[in-house]
């Protein structure tokens, strides 16, 4: 137990070491001088007096050291000594140091980078008060709107109100619109529109989360009490800085969304990005204003407009189980008591099945988590394996070097250094290496993070995700660094210092020396080969899966299609307004007439943009509850624009108007599976809804080829197409098939659109090809990264093989010399070394194959179009590893074959 002042004195000594030392020296000198003087006065000769003084004093150096030891800092001094020494010994073998640092930096950097994504996407808590108290009703994986009974993820506003008022388990409840609105609005009545990310939330949102604004006030329940008369918004800190230049008078400024002018009443704190990871709204608007925010949904009072996630903050002392039972009781009561509840047997059955679970909300909602958690976990595993290989490599290199340093250690031990002291020094050197590697790794990770974020985002707009280096990451990095240092440092340190002193001090490299067999080194190589095999086969699997995905028949031709989005909300017209319908047709005609354009058409969904699906009813067929048909509202030239082949019947034309007979075009599979067999569906009628409502009756006029609708992996979908005038859709997706230069066409198309409406915002200009590519972003990410890491692993293993073989050859030089002297040919000697490599690689792959097979089962659900490992990829990988192993071992083998027996033998 040390008292504080004592510690302070020790620390002050540490910082004034030089003065303390010189003081001590002066004091001791004085003592010796006085004693010597005394002896001379007693009559001794000068030399005798000097000797007597020293005799009585003792060994000044030892005493000085002992005095310093009392200050208790010698461990620190030893440490610095070791570090200095470590640096010197690192610089003495620059090639080894460079290789070690590079592999460490890559290994640690890759781990840190992937971990930063894992952290941001899956682990990090929301920056709100006490996030662990927050729970989400349901599992939160649905986004959009549903009117089905028994939904436990999406809820209506009236449901939220009742739940908020009647529950006994939450201190507060908030509703969050499940999707973000992208709205083109204006600031302060200026002319230029800009895109804003708007999030509709209940007035209780900020109070429930416990988020305090940095400026002004947060939204309150008052803002959300009555519909339509609370035009207030809270803006995000980032948007305040970006769009309003951090204006301190921001609270006087106004934003116009659609036709409504909103007052800015507050600015959220900088760290608050909302409640959904991977989205960062610019503006929060109370749900009471839902109808005023384009496209103007009308769900505030609709009991079954289920589009909101509900979150609650558990009251202190309320258990999750209590909350679940309370919520479920209320759930049934509230929904069944809605006056417009349609309690038919089917809906009752759905309600009876419904059970609301409460999901912890501490880390927020995220669709990214769903999409990327598997890839991230796999990549984390891959990078860990790479780091292990790097560790094995460095362990091998250090082992080889520590054997080369046997003489040095022997001398030091002979001079009295304890073994533990040497171990400590070697470990310090290891830590030093790891620390420098770790620091480089952080730098690399910062760079890799940005690269990865761009790869993940898969397009021009990067996902707003904070993956910058933070404290948690640094701690992770530090832990990894220390772990690696221990992993690769401890074996060489223990091995290197276990020395037969007399043997080691004798000059020579006797074959008797146990280390020349280096079993540990070989085990490490075998492990490296095994891990490399796992990683290469994994990379091959992911690449083949990606190739399979790219070769999927989409049903449409993805090349030479320009895609863009317009925001028709700025016109202020409703989608069923005849002027709106006419405008879309006008744009289509104007664009189609451009030179180089073959066809142009709007559609509610082109590819990978969600869906609108319902059950349908085909007369004379049994109702199929399990089948949802996807509906796509399109312009007349849609099939020409996407080159979807028409198999029978006709496409839509000018004859299909809002007043003409209602028609539909159906997909091949739908015709085959959902219509009575043996009957030509053309001319056949069906209902686009479950219930045979007269206004949902359509006549089939055409059949088109099946297409991929939402992604490339999906099985065959049932799709029908409806002409826009008959089901007006305020859509904005334009697809243009063109010939020639993309940029030129893109400019002309934009001019043509602006020729019709000057103010029409145009965004997300891209190609269909890019959108298809974007839909397999994470497959590509995993394939590219696993290929990179697989190559890295093989490369590191090669260095390992090269290092070990060079070392073994140098240790066996005189054995080889003897072999050559008694008649072994050069080829024999070369084979001697190569045989060893073949053996190591063979054992390594034998270990690796079962691991690979087990591992491939883990990733099976991420593979597309294949079932597990094929023998070809396995055999290919093994052959590849053997080949690069032999290449890596060739130089040492060549060196061995060139051993001059005379030199080798004379050396003994």
């Amino acid at each position: 137990m040390q008292k504080a002042p004592e510690l302070l004195r020790r620390i002050s000594m540490l910082f004034h070491r030089n003065r303390f030392q010189s003081d001590l020296e002066e004091e001791m000198r004085l003592h010796l001088d006085l004693r010597e003087q005394e002896q001379r006065e007693a009559g001794l000769s000068r030399q005798a007096a000097h000797q007597a003084a020293y005799r009585r004093f003792g060994n000044p150096t030892a005493i000085k050291e002992k005095s310093q030891t009392t200050w208790g800092w010698n461990w620190l001094e030893d440490f610095f000594e070791d570090i200095r020494y470590g640096f010197r010994s690192m610089l003495r073998s620059p090639a080894l140091t460079a290789v070690a640092l590079l592999s460490l930096a890559l290994g640690i950097g890759a781990n840190t980078a992937i971990f930063s994504f894992l952290d941001a996407v899956m682990l990090r808590s929301l920056p709100v008060r006490d996030p662990s108290q927050l729970v989400l009703l349901g599992e939160g994986d649905d986004y959009g709107v549903t009117d089905s009974y028994g939904s436990t993820t999406l809820y209506s506003y009236p449901f939220y109100r009742q739940m908020q008022q009647e529950n006994a388990v939450f201190s507060d409840v908030a509703a969050i619109y499940s999707t973000e609105h992208r709205v083109h609005g204006t600031i302060d009545g200026r002319d230029d529109v800009e895109e804003m990310h708007v999030h509709l939330v209940s007035g209780t949102y900020f109070p429930t989360l416990g988020v305090q604004p940095v400026l002004g006030r947060a939204l309150t329940d008052e803002d959300d009490n009555t519909e339509g008369d609370h035009p207030v918004v809270v803006i995000s800190y980032a948007w305040w800085k970006r769009a309003l230049a951090g204006d301190p008078a921001v609270l006087n400024r106004k934003i116009k969304l659609g036709t409504t002018i909103f007052n800015i009443v507050g600015v959220a704190p900088p760290e608050f990005f909302g409640t959904k990871v991977g989205e960062a709204p610019d503006i929060w608007v109370p749900l009471s204003m839902m109808n005023s925010v384009p496209p103007g949904f009308n769900g505030y009072k609709d009991d079954f407009y289920q589009s909101m996630h509900l979150i609650g903050r558990l009251r202190p002392g309320v258990s999750r189980e209590q909350a679940v039972s309370n919520v479920n009781v209320l759930y049934q009561q509230i929904i069944r008591a809605f006056p417009d509840a349609n309690l038919n047997p089917r809906n009752i059955a759905d309600l009876n099945k419904a059970h609301v679970v409460l999901t912890p909300m501490a880390t927020g909602l995220s669709s990214l988590r769903h999409r990327f958690s598997d890839p991230l976990k796999i990549l984390m595993g891959v990078t860990t394996l790479v780091l292990l290989i790097a560790c094995a490599n460095i362990a091998n290199l250090l082992l080889a070097r520590s054997t080369a340093r046997v003489r040095e250690f022997a001398v030091r031990q002979a001079l009295g250094a304890g073994r533990m002291r040497l171990v400590r020094q070697l470990l310090t050197e290891g830590f030093l290496l790891a620390a420098v590697g770790g620091a480089l790794g952080v730098g690399l990770a910062a760079f890799a993070d940005r690269l990865l974020l761009r790869m993940i985002s898969g397009g021009a707009d990067t996902i707003p995700l904070d993956v910058s280096i933070n404290l948690r990451l640094l701690i992770f990095n530090l832990a990894v660094t220390v772990a690696t240092a221990l992993l690769f440092g401890i074996v060489p340190a223990l091995r290197g210092t276990r020395i037969e002193l007399t043997e080691a001090l004798k000059d020579g490299r006797g074959p008797s020396s146990g280390t020349s067999r280096s079993p540990i080194g070989k085990v490490l190589i075998i492990a490296q080969v095994a891990i490399s095999l796992v990683l290469t086969v994994g990379a091959i699997l992911f690449i083949r899966s990606l190739v399979n995905l790219t070769n999927v028949d989409t049903g449409f031709s993805r090349e030479s299609v320009l895609r863009l989005e317009v925001d028709s909300n700025v016109t202020g017209l409703k989608s069923d307004d005849p002027r709106m319908i006419a405008m879309f047709q006008q744009i289509e005609q104007r664009v189609s007439a451009l030179p180089g354009v073959k066809a142009a058409s709007f559609a509610s969904f082109v590819y990978g943009q969600g869906s609108w699906n319902t059950e349908i009813r085909v007369p004379a067929m049994e109702a199929r509850e399990d089948i949802n048909v996807k509906h796509n509202v399109i312009g007349n030239d849609y099939f020409a624009a996407l080159q979807i082949p028409l198999l029978a019947g006709r496409t839509f034309g000018p004859q299909d108007t809002s007043t003409s007979h209602r028609v539909a075009i159906i997909s091949e599979s739908m015709a085959k599976d959902l219509f009575p067999p043996g009957i030509n569906p053309i001319g056949h009628h069906y209902y686009t809804t479950m219930d045979p409502e007269p206004n949902a009756d359509v006549e089939v006029v055409g059949i088109v080829k099946d297409v991929k609708f939402r992604n490339l992996q999906e099985p065959q979908q049932y799709i029908d197409y409806i002409p826009n005038p008959q089901h007006p859709w305020g859509y904005g997706n334009l697809a243009v098939r063109y010939n020639g230069d993309f940029t030129t066409i893109s400019n002309e198309v934009q001019q043509a659109i602006h020729g019709i409406d000057q103010t029409m915002p145009i965004s997300r200009i891209t190609t269909l090809d890019q959108e298809v590519a974007r839909s397999i972003t994470n497959q590509r990410l995993v394939a590219q990264l696993s290929a990179f890491f697989g190559l890295l692993a093989v490369f590191l293993s090669c260095i390992g093989i090269y290092g070990l073989m060079s070392y073994i050859v140098s240790r066996r030089t005189n054995e080889i010399g003897i072999r050559i002297a008694i008649g072994a040919s050069r080829a024999d000697v070369r084979w001697l070394v190569m045989r060893e490599i073949v053996l190591l690689v063979a054992i390594g792959t034998a270990v690796g194959i079962p691991v690979t097979l087990a591992g491939s089962r883990l990733v099976a659900n991420m593979l597309f179009g294949m079932s597990g490992v094929s023998w070809i990829s396995l055999v290919g990988s093994v052959a590849g590893l053997l080949l690069v192993g032999l290449i890596a071992g060739f130089l040492p083998a060549q060196r061995a074959s060139r051993v001059d027996p005379m030199v080798a033998l004379r050396y003994e």
Partner: protein, 109 residues
């Protein structure tokens, strides 16, 4: 001249006591004083005073300040602190307890 090694652990006691008696002393004076007072019986390896003094500085039993000797040389003078006095009392009572016990063992027939 037959000299005896000091019993282990008593060096602090000797230094503390010497300083208590004589006020401010430098290292050489402490060594001389111990030897003198013990009538040349106790021999201290003089150098070992210094690690002991360093430790006492850390513990706060003594303070040191630089002054000049009679021979006009710079010397570090040590002085007892309050906590040093307390330590002295403690060490004396400890020492006496041990000596008393040893004496009893010796004298018991």
């Amino acid at each position: 001249m037959n000299k005896d090694e000091i019993p282990p652990g008593t060096l602090y006691l000797l230094i503390l006591r010497t300083l208590a008696r004589q006020g401010e002393l430098h290292g050489f004076e402490i060594a001389d004083s111990i030897q003198c007072t013990s009538e040349d019986v106790l021999q201290v390896e003089e150098g070992s005073l210094y690690p002991a003094l360093q430790r006492m500085l850390i513990k706060g039993w003594v303070t040191a300040k630089w002054g000049t000797t009679a021979g006009n040389r710079r010397a570090r003078y040590y002085k007892l602190t309050a906590s040093g006095r307390k330590q002295l009392a403690l060490e004396i009572s400890q020492f006496q307890r041990v000596i008393g016990a040893i004496t009893r063992v010796i004298q018991t027939a």
